[in-house]
């Protein structure tokens, strides 16, 4: 394939990227909640355009189990899910990270029941935040496409060997037609050679994986996972840098927009970052010294990048897409408050939870959140969170 710019549904572009990444095994449960990503991959495999095993399993629990098995033998592995599908997968999701099994998942973020809902927010991914996967958030179709390749490059790196989820907003991105640049296969091959995993299961070299752990070793095993995620950080940064050198599209753990002279910033994760930029442009015209901070790498959390991005700012208005019931507000705000706690002159944090289960957050809403959030911060109203747009 030559380098081309296409008007295409983001899910289809992501499936095409998975095929270009030359995966060996795709396992997925094809029924709601699912996206066109694996549907299109099933066509690509059936048409003989990709030499891969496509395993249509009977549940998401089985999908992740197949992925673990295929990754364990050294096969490049892909799956995708959302919402309740991720919930059913959760047990094996943790095991994939514990067994250090590289794979890439397109996690099309959607709400969890109940009440029954399939629309977009970040409730599903927050459920597995602590599973030990690498979590990347993207904000448009191009980033979805690009991060499939970066994802494999990072996940399969011998010093990482961890599963990686590319989090993309369900519907907002998965059902969007927009321009995406496809790179040529030669560029992809250069960036992402075929996988050669050490320690893969093989009859000539028997090893045990996923063993039982007595209390004497469980703590050390968990520390191994923690250290593995921390060690992944430089590999992630390098993989994004090299992708940028090849394609001109650079990614960083924390992205900033018009923050240099900003007095305060809106903080987003996922596709909301784009609307936030648009609104910040408009507010800048009116003289507001506001910028956008976007969290691209959620796990391992890039504490130093975040702290330096917000240094000297008066306040941060953090927009979360999920609630921690009975807790301190949204998971992102919780994270950022922890990152800044006890630091001298740390910016004040005001937290909004918005856009739950697909409730639209328009430019006018962002404007209101930013200006109201700024006023709250200046009055010291920084406790808890506000559920934006709550009726009644």
């Amino acid at each position: 394939m030559a380098r081309t710019r296409k008007g295409i549904e983001v899910s289809i572009a992501m499936a095409d990227a998975v095929a270009q990444a030359n995966v060996d095994v795709i396992a997925a449960y094809p029924i709601t909640p699912q996206t066109h990503i694996v549907e299109h991959l099933s066509e690509i495999v059936a048409n003989g355009e990709l030499d891969a095993e496509y395993v249509p399993v009977e549940s998401e629990h089985s999908a992740m189990s197949v992925c673990c098995g295929s990754s364990a033998v050294g096969a490049r592995t892909f799956t995708s899910t959302s919402s309740q599908g991720l919930a059913l997968m959760a047990e094996i999701f943790y095991i994939a990270a514990s067994m250090r099994l590289p794979m890439v998942m397109a996690l099309a973020n959607r709400s969890l029941s109940g009440p029954l809902s399939i629309w977009n927010d970040h409730t599903d991914t927050m459920m597995v935040r602590d599973a030990g996967w690498i979590h990347v958030f993207v904000e448009n179709g191009q980033e979805c496409y690009d991060n499939v390749f970066c994802g494999y490059r990072i996940s399969e790196d011998p010093s990482v060997m961890l599963p990686l989820a590319v989090n993309l907003d369900g519907f907002i991105l998965t059902h969007m037609i927009e321009p995406v640049i496809y790179e040529d296969n030669e560029t992809i091959r250069k960036y992402l050679p075929d996988v050669r995993m050490k320690n893969a299961l093989h009859p000539d070299n028997p090893v045990s994986m996923g063993c039982f752990a007595m209390p004497e070793i469980y703590t050390e095993a968990q520390m191994g996972r923690e250290q593995g995620l921390l060690d992944a950080y430089p590999v992630i940064v390098k993989a994004w840098k090299e992708w940028g050198d090849l394609t001109g599209r650079y990614y960083r753990p924390i992205e900033t927009y018009r923050t240099e002279d900003a007095e305060y910033c809106i903080v987003t994760m996922g596709s909301y970052g784009e609307t936030a930029m648009e609104v910040v442009d408009a507010l800048r015209e009116e003289g507001e010294k506001v910028g956008v901070v976007k969290i691209r790498l959620w796990r391992p959390f890039p504490f130093e990048d975040f702290r330096s991005a917000v240094e000297g700012k008066k306040s941060l208005i953090v927009v979360d897409r999920a609630i921690s019931f009975g807790g301190p507000g949204g998971p992102v705000a919780l994270e950022l408050r922890s990152a800044l706690y006890g630091r001298p002159n740390a910016p004040a944090i005001v937290n909004y939870v918005a856009g739950l289960a697909g409730r639209d957050v328009a430019r006018s809403d962002f404007r209101k959140i930013i200006l109201e959030g700024k006023a709250k911060a200046s009055k010291g109203e920084t406790e808890g969170f506000t559920l934006y747009g709550l009726r009644g």
């Binding site: 710019r5 008007g7 519907f171 037609i177 784009e274 697909g358 328009a362 430019r363 809403d365």
Partner: protein, 183 residues
């Protein structure tokens, strides 16, 4: 940036129309988005689709609230909803109706350009049934000049295949000729 909202009923192809406009615009080197109003898909129920076209990257991830152009595929929807909601002066309202533009009454206080075509008749004659999404595009192209008929040929033939695609193209070309554009 031009923002477009399409009103139709499930099964009429409003989403396809939005997609074809976006793909044609992107193929011309522009930036565009097309997306449905997300929800359960039910044949016959009122549906909305959205499209944005610009010459720079589009950074809005929300529905269209203040459309520059509104396309209504089903005349029956006019008694259920106000398709002009959010439109401002100079907005273009494209309707599938036998009426002439001057016979169409819209809420006072705004000056809209009304564009009408008898898409049901055209589609029935050309396609054998009143699926008007591609027919309406003929009127859209004529009224806005945003893209040309030639720009939409390729995505249309890719979407519908050669045989059905060419019939849809004919319906679109007829609408392009027969559309009535108001003041």
């Amino acid at each position: 940036m031009l923002e477009i909202r399409l009103h139709g009923r499930g099964g009429q192809g409003a989403v396809t129309s939005a997609e074809l406009i976006a793909i044609a615009a992107i193929n011309k080197g522009n930036f565009a988005q097309a997306f449905p109003s997300f929800g359960p898909e039910r044949r016959g129920a009122p549906v909305v689709a959205f499209c944005r076209v610009d010459d720079r990257k589009i950074n809005i991830r929300a529905k269209v609230y203040e459309p520059d152009v509104v396309i209504v595929l089903d005349p029956g929807l006019l008694s259920l909803l106000d398709p002009t909601e959010g439109m401002g002066d100079g907005g273009i309202l494209i309707l599938n109706t036998k009426k002439k533009p001057q016979e169409v009454v819209t809420a006072p206080g705004r000056s809209l350009k009304v564009v009408t075509m008898d898409a049901n008749t055209i589609a029935t004659e050309e396609l054998g049934r009143p699926i008007v999404n591609t027919t309406m595009l003929g009127g859209f192209i004529r009224a806005t000049g945003l893209i040309g008929i030639d720009d939409i040929k390729e995505p249309l033939l890719e979407r519908f295949g050669k045989k059905l695609g060419e019939r849809n193209l004919k319906a679109m070309e007829r609408a392009y000729q027969e559309v009535s554009i108001g003041e």
